[in-house]
């Protein structure tokens, strides 16, 4: 079965420290991986994606993600966390669907809390 796992319900980090939000996936074929962030009372905002090529992907707001095929992981990282990064983060894989569409399979989400 195609799935995405985010093993941590919550990640706590102090402001200024590096942060990592973990994601592992299980898909057949090439994975198309995405990270989205959701702030309170807002929709999901696209952060970055991995399609092919360089395993280190840079995205919005200073975030980056490292694709590791052997570990089937796509962890989200940031060198220095900000209090304003506190939000709910979703990892997702895009799968081909009937009719040429793509369907996003989301992980359960990880709440990131950055403390001053």
């Amino acid at each position: 079965a195609q799935s995405v796992a985010q093993p941590e319900d919550q990640v706590n980090v102090a402001e200024g420290n590096p942060l990592t939000v973990k994601c592992t996936y299980s898909v057949s074929g090439n994975p198309y991986l995405f990270w989205y962030v959701q702030y309170p009372n807002r929709g999901l905002q696209f952060l970055l994606k991995y399609i092919t090529g360089d395993n280190l992907v840079k995205g919005s707001y200073g975030f980056e993600a490292e694709f590791n095929k052997s570990q089937t992981s796509f962890h989200l990282k940031k060198p220095s966390a900000l209090v304003s990064d506190s939000a709910l983060y979703f990892c997702a894989v895009s799968l081909p669907f009937s009719g040429g569409y793509n369907k996003l399979i989301f992980g359960a989400g990880t709440r990131l809390a950055v403390h001053p």
Binding site: Y32, G43, F46, L95, P96, G100, Y101, A108, G109
Partner: protein
């Protein structure tokens, strides 16, 4: 600012009411989506429209009725909802088939309508 606009932001309705949620995008996307999101959970896909035609219905109860009047607009008509239908309803859009490879393009989400059923 989000490029997908949803109205209203909040909606409270009784179980016998009829109401509609609206979504608009001007990014030229030909695929549009409705999702339901419960608190602290990931979004669940409800419907997919492509080129104004309903392409995917994820076994959604008939009390939810989607409509796509044109390539920029997506509506969700609500009737006789149940308390368990209270949730955040998100609209999204993306490239559709024929607009390049849609599988590697992100979906763009609106800020949602928070629906409460009394």
């Amino acid at each position: 600012d989000t490029e997908v606009t949803q109205t209203p932001k909040h909606l409270v309705m009784g179980m016998t009411n009829k109401k509609s949620l609206k979504c608009e995008q001007h990014m030229g996307h030909r695929a549009m989506y409705w999702y339901k999101q419960k608190a602290k959970k990931p979004p669940e896909l409800m419907f997919v429209y492509s080129y104004e035609k309903l392409s995917i219905n994820e076994s959604v109860p008939s009390r939810f009725s989607p409509e796509c009047p044109n390539s920029s607009l997506l509506n969700l008509h609500l009737h006789a909802l149940q308390p368990e239908d209270s949730a955040l309803y998100l609209c999204a859009s993306s490239h559709g088939p024929g607009q390049g490879s849609s599988i590697n393009q992100p979906q763009h989400f609106g800020d949602g309508t928070r629906l409460s059923i009394l």
